[in-house]
Symmetry: C2
Subunit: 419 residues, 2 copies
């Protein structure tokens, strides 16, 4: 029986160790319709002013504002309509005194006009309309370049491509966009106790839930991972499968085999393949034996075989690393403050992460444990959308205390309609 | 010139009108690895207890706790190791007095044992170990059924399938899952001023950014939409394309053509195809002319042609409707409170929605306008991750005031690592 002494590092330091060792400058070009959630690898430059021309934001009439001088309820001024512009057409008319052009939303303001009268602001007359108020220069006009100017950098590289970015690219006529490549990920569940979900149960065995869970966690980051077969506890088998996975992927995630048990072969595997272990003990519960190793700009995540520990380890270490390797600007877990809805009287020698249900309300955010919360719990993960953080060296949290929480699942907050 | 009087409805009432008219009970079966982000159409039942058996949460030795009675630093008690259990194997040994079984994390506790001594709590001896503390019944044991019991409903239908749900399904041996079908969506950008992103510019014309933007907004909801060609302002053409789209989809989203202009044909289209208009004016800016119509459990969204108005309309009306038609539990926009970082002195006769950048900090959430914010703005959408709500009938908001905001993009919050 040999227990190698491990040196536990603080969670925050461990996260930094992971993201500090990797980078990715590999770029590829995508059609804009395939680019959602990738990271911009280039600044986006305006190819023309927006608006491209002075345009009408309303349906109405383009006029010369000076012709409206003195208009009021007692002095209605008549304008003669001399042309008509729908969106997408233009008019060559140059307005004369008290002349107007009927104009539709989005259409180009004709020469000479400097204000738009909305339909609602007119009374109809033969061949024209009357107004009862004075208009000022520029009233109801969207000016050329008021949003942005040609050659301006409108979006910076490093931004994640959202629907608005796609709208901007389309506006400026970009049909292709440069993005950073995403890392490739392999998932290997290890453990002789593991059965595939479709295998019949056997004494002492359990089904592999970590593999499918990590595949889904990667999918949430828009990464299609490669899932290897379950690897039994066999040193040479582990070495072979990890080496093969590492030769074909940027990230290899294993679950299980990182503790101090007789069949915990991952520490030995990192040794045999000459990977540098960044840490093999973290000041956290669950998942203190989470191990991350590094080799040639590739990362090996040795996550716990316990589902809750595995899940926490992914959110704390793997997700920031994937985002860093995607070259995203924002890579850290989103952390907010919430009000505890339960007591946690126990001491926290290591930082405790508790799968929790976070709710938004007008009074703020609330956090309540998502269920049975031991390291091996699985149902609580499914019911959680965040993790309560109880820092190491603390104790005695009570209902009503404010704590930090990591938001993990943004789709499941309970919410009411109350604008 | 005819202006039909429209009756503006409150935003909240408009949202309710939309979600009240649709439902979807269509179910399909998926492999669990394809089910992420679908909605559970059945409760998930535990097919056995979790844990399945009393198990060791640590690497160590299983003992009978009674044999440790009286152990302390001055009275170390010796245990003889009589068997060895790795995870996935079991032992037939029945423990006798001061006998122990070496046991690995996750393995089944052997008969007679009722506590586990961790490696770190022992000193090694010939053929066994000594301990210096007393163990109580159940110490360091994960008990059969302590998380959940066979036949218990562990997850309820209506929940969105996240990575944890997939782990639960795998654990219980479910390889397939019943989910609600997602609605099918057609996108039609209308307007004679619109050019495709790859077309050369022409006077008075602009590129279609709404079509690609809505396609991306659907994709964020995991819905692959059908994008039709740009439809010019032509009544019969509009009728034909909307009818065709409606015959093949549950939702038809058009952009443009809903205002009071001479070529705004959508009101006429709804009339011609006998769709019931739920509302054609909303007490909101931008996008007051947003129109939603209904026909035979299908919805027609007439969104504004102005990008910011179109984007807001999608988040306020289309997204909740899509989630309702997916049968999600949580369908409303996530609304939180944030502190304004800018003044908004103007009156808000209608509720104003301002594309905004929301930041989390330990002091709370902050909201600042994402840029130029008129209805036709497009760059500000890309820079936003939320919308500030200034309710109708208010005025004079100042920096530092607390306002409600809708969260729209959960990936782009600026965040620091501060556990």
């Amino acid at each position: 029986m040999t227990i190698k002494k491990r040196n536990p590092v603080a969670v925050q330091d461990a996260i930094k160790k992971v993201i500090d060792v990797v980078e990715n400058e590999s770029i590829m070009t995508l059609n804009i319709e395939d680019s959602l959630n990738y990271i911009l690898a280039e600044n986006v430059i305006a190819t023309y002013d927006i608006p491209r021309f002075n345009k009408s934001p309303y349906d109405g009439f383009a006029i010369r504002s000076e012709d409206s001088n003195g208009a009021n309820g007692d002095n209605r001024i008549f304008f003669k309509v001399v042309d008509h512009i729908g969106a997408g057409t233009t008019s060559d008319v140059k307005l004369g005194k008290c002349e107007a052009v009927r104009i539709m939303t989005g259409a180009q303001i004709p020469e000479g006009a400097d204000a738009v009268v909305m339909f609602e602001q007119t009374t109809e007359e033969q061949q024209g309309f009357k107004i009862r108020k004075q208009f000022v220069h520029g009233e109801n006009i969207a000016f050329k370049g008021e949003e942005c100017k040609e050659n301006e950098i409108v979006l910076n590289k490093g931004q994640m491509i959202n629907s608005g970015v796609i709208a901007v690219l389309a506006t400026f006529g970009y049909t292709k966009v440069s993005v950073y490549q995403r890392p490739t990920v392999a998932v290997i569940a290890t453990g002789s106790e593991l059965l595939a979900p479709d295998e019949p149960l056997q004494p002492g065995k359990i089904r592999n839930s970590n593999g499918p869970m990590i595949q889904a966690l990667c999918q949430e980051l828009n990464i299609k991972s490669t899932t290897y077969n379950i690897q039994e506890d066999n040193l040479q088998g582990c070495i072979n499968i990890v080496e093969e996975a590492l030769s074909n992927h940027d990230i290899v995630i294993t679950t299980g085999g990182v503790s101090v048990g007789d069949y915990d072969y991952l520490p030995k595997v990192y040794d045999e393949i000459n990977a540098e272990v960044l840490f093999n003990k973290v000041q956290m519960r669950p998942g203190s034996v989470t191990t991350v190793a590094y080799k040639e700009n590739k990362l090996l995540f040795g996550l716990s075989g316990n589902p809750s520990a595995c899940y926490s380890g992914f959110h704390l270490f793997t997700k920031p690393a994937i985002l860093k390797m995607m070259n995203a600007n924002e890579i850290y877990p989103p952390i907010v403050e919430a009000i505890l809805e339960d007591d946690f009287k126990k001491a926290n020698p290591f930082t405790r992460f508790i799968r929790a249900k976070i709710t938004f309300s007008e009074q703020g955010m609330y956090a309540t444990p998502a269920g049975f919360n031991k390291s091996n719990a699985v149902v609580a993960i499914a019911k959680s959308n965040g993790m309560i953080i109880l820092p190491s060296g603390t104790r005695g949290y009570s209902k009503g205390d404010t704590v930090k929480v990591i938001l993990t699942d943004h789709q499941s907050y309970e919410r009411v309609l109350n604008l």
